[in-house]
Amino acid sequence: MSAAAAGKVDGGPAKDKTDPFRNKNELKASKKAAKRSRGSSHYRPKAPTELTQLPPLKDAATDQQELFVKKLQQCCVVFDFSDPVSDVKSKEIKRTCLNELVEYVTVTRGVLQDATYPEIIRMIACNIFRTLPPSDNPDFDPEEDDPTLEASWPHLQFVYEFFLRVLESPDFQPSVAKKYIDQRFVLQLLELFDSEDPRERDFLKTVLHRIYGKFLGLRAFIRKQINNIFLRFIYQTEQFNGVGELLEILGSIINGFALPLKAEHKQFLVKVLLPLHKAKSLGMFHAQLAYCVVQFLEKDATLTEQVVRGLLKFWPRTVSSKEVMYLGEMEEIMDVMEPGQFEKIMVPLFKQIAKSVSSSHFQVAERALFFWNNEYVTQLIDENNAVIMPILFPSFYRISREHWNQTIVALVYNVLKSFMEMNSKLFDELTNAYKAERQKERKREKDREDLLKKFEHLHIK
């Protein structure tokens, strides 16, 4: 590990630990100044790295395949990018070579022969499979911090591009490739999803998506390993950078599920996807997670009750930004909910919505109230207003008088007005009952005060 990665030049970490008065922004600024934004994950003993330029493939009249294999072998040499001035010429030769290979495999037919598969996979494995370095910044905030980029990206991006072109080639034969792209290969590929470089994760996502599509024999294994990654993430480490990308792949898999859904898939929803909502870093992958959940419900509406009750069980109590995400997801779920399913969960759901609407965090209240801007949701509410209105009414009425944010009060006004128009008889009953309760409460308070005054008076006597 380089000195820069191992410790800070100004002795930052030791100083930070002993000085309790340095605030979070100062700490981040000092770390940013000291740390390099690029990490290198290759640490190998010094091997011969000087490359000789090979002739271009397009100029080879015969033995193009032989030259192709030689170039593949040449690209198996891996360079150390932590030193920007070492092996500059050879690095450039390799980069040009990789670029050429990408073009070659894209435009030329008949490249992918039985003998070339092991060479291709070996070159790819040599370059991409490595141990990822530990994170420089465990408190990484995607909205504020820059991600740590892979130093060897100038080569890696071509390797990934090449891999993709191979997988997408019309000549690609999974029956031959499966000897080399096996479970061990996939396992190593999955570990790379923890890379901090978002560009690498994006390529990995596409690569794994193609592998899942083409290798039917690996599908169950891939699903199982993704499950393991998620479960480890949820219950042990809470640290994995590639959750979003894996969820994106799963979204396309769920989209293609056959009906009726297998028990394995339903179990995955309940045991993995729902608990994934608990993660602290939910914001990094919530859009993809919500997409997966909604896809499940579009496939099988009978899962609605389980999903909604699951979300209500994990509903955030203290993190407002998470609550806003949950509300967004709940609206998307309601958008695809059948009326019959809605009736089963409307009571617990709207009890929670009543609490969210009452939140003193204006974004939470606002997001909850915005449900009433959704035509389908208001239609569902309208059809069941005799049950829902009494649940929501006390919160809405109280908010209209007590909330500090005038936007919220105006939104509550809108909702109360639509309530009155849907069912003014019920609305009247609720306002009357609320008024009676409030007057009873005031009377009780007054009686209590009078009693205390009497005691004071007796005490003085």
């Binding site: 998506h209 979204g251 606002e366 009953e429 609320y434």
Partner: protein
């Protein structure tokens, strides 16, 4: 002095309600207790009216013509060509006012007086459509100041915001002054004999608070239609009371209820035909207004920038990968 008069008036109206049904006053029972009372409806004998109530009804009948606005001309106005409030605009404004009234949850007298003040002003002054909402809101403010304690008066700034009547709090207060000035030469605003005042005198006939409140709610809804409010206040009150009393009456006391209603018809000098006609008009309006689709233009959804940003990231765009078929 004025304050004490106001309190005295409120106490009088509450006292009349308390007689014979002391526990059934507006605020005394919770909804649960009221429901229990409701279960008993039809079994108890309806109370007959006391002499005091009848005397007050006679007094209201005497004042009735002085305060009832003659709004039939509103049906002859075409607001588009004449730039004046017509029946439709009046109804819309009063309907919105009713919601404002429910929002503030003040005494039902506030709404009844506000409608009366607004209609009397519209009769006296040709109002432009753009001012109708402000007029109705200012009328409500005047009524609230007449009826409620100062601590319960709506704040003009918030009232203007909630009512969405346009203008500022100053504009609202100016409208209040204009209304008071224009109606100054008429009888005292507080003495208006509205349909609600007649209904309040009949409260002792109702078997429970809940039943009476339903009747009041229906009366408020019917006031939202100028076509219904054209009828005499006593007729409106009696038509609504009759409907709810007959609905609540069991076979055992049906005759007693009929007898009381017949006495009231004689007192108000009404025929059963005119009562049925009003009943039909009320039923039509109420069923139309009690369940209607919210007017989209009135529902203003203005959210903060951060919420708007989060709304622009739906999860449907989360996956750009092609679906992979399972089979």
């Amino acid at each position: 002095m004025v304050h004490n008069d106001r309190r005295a008036r409120r106490k009088r109206s509450k006292k009349s309600a308390a007689q014979g049904a002391a526990a059934n006053s507006w605020a005394a029972k919770s909804s649960k207790e009221a429901r229990r009372g409701d279960e008993a409806c039809g079994l108890a004998e309806p109370m007959s009216l006391t002499d005091e109530s009848i005397a007050r009804l006679i007094e209201l009948l005497a004042r009735e013509p002085d305060y009832h606005p003659k709004t039939d001309f509103l049906f002859r106005i075409n607001s588009a060509s004449e730039d004046k409030v017509d029946a439709r605009l009046r109804d819309e404004a009063i309907y919105n006012l009713r919601f404002l009234h429910k929002f503030y949850n003040l005494s039902p007298e506030c709404f009844a007086h506000a409608v009366n003040i607004a209609d009397r002003f519209v009769v006296k002054v040709k109002v432009k459509p753009k001012y109708m909402a402000c007029l109705a809101t200012a009328a409500y403010l005047i009524a609230a100041k007449m009826i409620e304690d100062q601590s319960d008066w709506p704040v003009p700034e918030k009232l203007v915001c909630m009512a969405r009547c346009g203008g500022s709090a100053n504009d609202l207060e100016r409208m209040e002054v204009i209304i008071r000035n224009k109606l100054r030469d008429q009888r005292c605003l507080e003495e208006a004999a509205t349909p609600l005042h007649f209904l309040l005198e009949l409260q002792s006939l109702f078997p429970s608070v809940q039943a009476f409140q339903r009747a009041v709610g229906e009366l408020e809804t019917s006031l939202c239609s100028v076509a219904v409010y054209e009828h005499r206040p006593c007729v409106l009150a009696l038509a609504i009371a009759r409907k709810h009393l007959l609905a609540a009456a069991g076979p055992a006391n049906r005759n007693a209820v009929d007898e009381v209603l017949s006495q009231l018809c004689d007192l108000f000098q009404l025929s059963s035909d005119s009562l049925s006609e009003v009943d039909a008009a009320i039923s039509g309006i109420v069923s139309r207004l009690q369940t209607r689709t919210p007017a989209p233009r009135l529902l203003v959804w203005a959210v903060s920038r951060r919420t708007l940003v989060s709304l622009m990231r739906p999860s449907a765009q989360a996956s750009l990968l092609d679906p992979i078929r399972e089979d």
